[in-house]
Symmetry: C2
Subunit: 153 residues, 2 copies
């Protein structure tokens, strides 16, 4: 099997209320309705056709400088080290972020979204429609996060 | 804003029943229970700790050769051209695939998964846990795919 490297370039950038890396949540603990905009580079605008029909989108993004990757990490506000692939922390071997955002509207090359938790100016690598029939999970078991959720309730 | 390129290298490979690109579904139309294995490179095994507690995982992968990117595309079995970002087709500016798979068990560096629709030997770039509180979408509106689903029902 090949282990060649793949390279990607941003298709746009996310603008959010979070300008300070130290106070930006890695991931909000619960649903959030924070608003942001995703500005798609002009050259890709044609690819946005039909997207507005979807209420939610996946955004794959490149987190800001995250430091050297780690295979074990203590998630935000947790005291136990977890395997990096069992977390959404950004210091992963390939630092990619994934978020489901609510798509409010599209004007030209600008997507108005809610649910943002990324730093202002985050580079976006891909946008995909959220589709119930591929993505909807019923009765998910949430591993270590489940007990945190129960504690918080 | 920077538009530098980012590069990633595979953390493992997916082994599936699909060895022929011509007959491999781009995305199954409905839930599928096809089994596969995701073999994580030994150097990353430590990062799998705690993952088995999750019933579902996101897998971000690099589709096999997809051809030149297109901004408009006719999705599988469809006659209307859609914007590429309103589809899950692979000929996107940054050809990344995203799937939610059911995680059956982990043995060493091997994840046993169901729901695969990728070609055998597909390179995996990242694995993330599926978490209801980040990822669950209630009452999603499915854009153009919604009418296809209704036709199929």
């Amino acid at each position: 099997m090949s282990s060649e490297k793949f390279s990607f370039k941003p298709i746009g950038f996310l603008y959010t209320p979070f300008t300070n890396p130290k106070t930006t949540p890695i991931q909000p603990l619960y649903d959030n309705d924070l608003e942001g905009t995703l500005e798609v580079n002009e050259e890709y605008v044609e690819g946005l056709k039909d997207l507005e029909g979807f209420s939610h989108i996946y955004v794959i993004y490149q987190p800001h400088a995250t430091g050297r990757p780690k295979l074990r990490i203590k998630p935000l506000m947790q005291n136990v080290e977890r395997g990096i692939f069992a977390t959404r922390a950004h210091r992963r071997p390939n630092p990619l972020g994934l978020a489901v955002l609510k798509l409010e509207k599209i004007e030209g090359n600008i997507l108005y979204v809610t649910g943002v938790d990324m730093l202002d100016g985050t580079a976006v690598i891909d946008i995909k429609p959220y589709c119930d029939r591929f993505d909807k999970v019923v009765n998910a078991r949430g591993g270590w996060t489940q007990s945190c959720a129960e504690e918080g309730e």
